[in-house]
Amino acid sequence: MKKAAIILVLFSALIVAISWVNKENTFPKTHPIKFIIPKGWPEPLYDFKQNPLTEEGFELGRKLFYDGNLSKDGNFSCASCHQQFAAFATYDHALSHGFNNSFSFRNAPGLFNLAWQKDFMWDGGINHLDLQPLAPITDPHEMAENLDSILFKLKNDIVYQRMFAAAFGKKEINTQLVTKAISQFVLMLVSADSKYDRVMQGKDSFNLPQRLGYEIFQKKCISCHVPPFFTDFSFRSTGLALDDYLKDYGRMRITGNPDDSLKFRVPSLRNVQQTFPYSHDGRFGYLDAVFEHYRSGVIQSNTTDSLLKNGIPLSNFEFGQLKAFLYTLTDSSFLNNPLFAPPGVNRNAPLPDALQHADK
């Protein structure tokens, strides 16, 4: 009898414990992804605690990134302007094509190493990575969609219903979860395996033009294009003429401060071989044009960067050497990583559980 009593007590305790601990947790567990910081790089700025990376979240983010349904007419996904082979910039386009034959306002930048970036866009107007997708999604010249409509489409899609539940453990789809999923995908776009990186790790060596170019780079470029990101993320005026159609004053649009007139973010030079045309409006079609601007085209104004008072003196030989070095920043394993390709396109890519469920 005593035994029965003890068993009963233990059993009741167990029931109480289970009902307390496990009220809603009926969704299968997610599979965490460890974010790997390349050797010698600083801690990322993105707060992963607020949005822990999981295979399910990443896979959902990848599907959203490649889904044209996030645009008004179904034609424009994030990836239509952010192409993997162009380091997630738009290949060979000064401005990108958007809804209804329109052009974007600015040149689409490459997407990589975003976990270390504090604010976004050429003018730094967006202060959190999760917020970034909302701008192109709602811009009438880009995806031209509104958030309510996207949420409606996603909520009525059974594959998305399953993938959101798998990624976030609840039967809910809202703006916050959509953007967190997209962040999970783009956060994984880390480019740190170029020839330059291998040389720095002692695994490879520069040839002569590359080495000479690296020396020029260290003398004349490095104070703004700071390794390992090849940008200091600051906003500077490089003495570009104002485009009288776009009338883009850059950072001043955000701060309202005349001291910020014509200042734009220093772009990263990683994968620069793939991200042409260059500058915020894509006015330079190739690297020689950029070098020529620094050599002879810098317009002096109140806001022109003090480092460019005399432009940057460069000889024709240096053009070639500098280019040879900059091409060592091309990270082909990043450009070809099947993990970042459209879901289902490359069957060699690992297919986490969430997608396998979704395909059925």
């Binding site: 967006i126 917020l131 916050q176 953007t179």
Partner: protein, 243 residues
């Protein structure tokens, strides 16, 4: 031990766990308080798309009027205590009457005043995408220059020199030098379970700054003009004595 006592033991444990749960969840004694926002033109309750006249004699209609209320603090001066409602955000929307009532629970014995913010504090402007009433899909958010639109006033007036004679005042900006959130302090003289707060749209155009519709009909970015509107709308709230 007979079977009866086992059953009693079993029941006792269950009773205990339930009691404990209830004790924890029922914090002291709290009572309900309702805060009602009544949008007005002067003292007249606002009706959308009716014609009104502002202090400059400009006739106008209102098609949309929305603003965020946050950081509410109820004050009990007599007992020297306050009750702060952290992380509670409300979007007052003229087209949705249920949004105009805020229900809170307070342990204060008396209420002699109420402080609140019109707008969203800077913290929530830098923490990425929020859910619920702060979801950017609510249309009170700027995506190209991060930040909440604290208050929105849209309508028409023949004085406005723009398509459809439409004016649209989207007031936002949270950074230093651009902040359009304002703290409002009001005295509550009576002590009812309901606090009725009027919000007079006429104050948008004229109080601290003269902003006639003829001269200003668009505001879509943070900056000096938005701050002027913010100074003005900070004065629009009042509690009507005979309510």
């Amino acid at each position: 031990m007979n079977q009866k006592s086992i059953l009693q033991y079993y029941l006792l444990i269950f009773c205990c766990t339930f009691c404990c749960q209830n004790l924890w969840s029922q914090e002291n004694f709290k009572r309900d308080i309702k805060i009602q926002f009544i949008n007005t033109i002067g003292l007249t309750p606002l009706q959308l798309n009716e014609t009104y006249t502002n202090d400059f004699g400009e006739k106008f209609t209102v098609s949309s009027f929305r603003y965020y209320i946050s950081n509410i603090t109820l004050v009990d001066e007599k007992n020297n205590s306050t009750d702060y409602f952290k992380d509670q955000y409300f979007l007052i929307d003229q087209s949705d009457s249920s949004s105009q009532n805020i229900f809170l629970q307070t342990s204060l014995k008396e209420i002699t005043g109420i402080n609140f913010m019109i707008g969203i504090d800077s913290l929530k402007n830098v923490q990425g995408v929020q859910a619920g009433i702060l979801d950017p899909a609510k249309g009170m958010f700027w995506v190209w220059n991060t930040g909440y639109v604290m208050a929105k006033l849209e309508g028409n007036s023949n004085m406005v020199n723009a398509p459809r004679h439409a004016f649209s005042l989207h007031i936002g900006g949270f950074k230093a030098g651009q902040n359009t959130a304002r703290i409002i302090q009001l005295n509550v003289s009576k002590h009812p379970g309901i606090i009725k707060i009027n919000a007079d749209i006429n104050q948008w155009f004229k109080n601290l700054h003269d902003l006639p519709l003829k001269e200003n009909f668009f505001c879509h970015e943070p900056g000096i003009l938005a701050m002027k509107y913010a100074d003005n709308y900070a004065t629009m709230f009042f509690i009507q004595e005979n309510n």
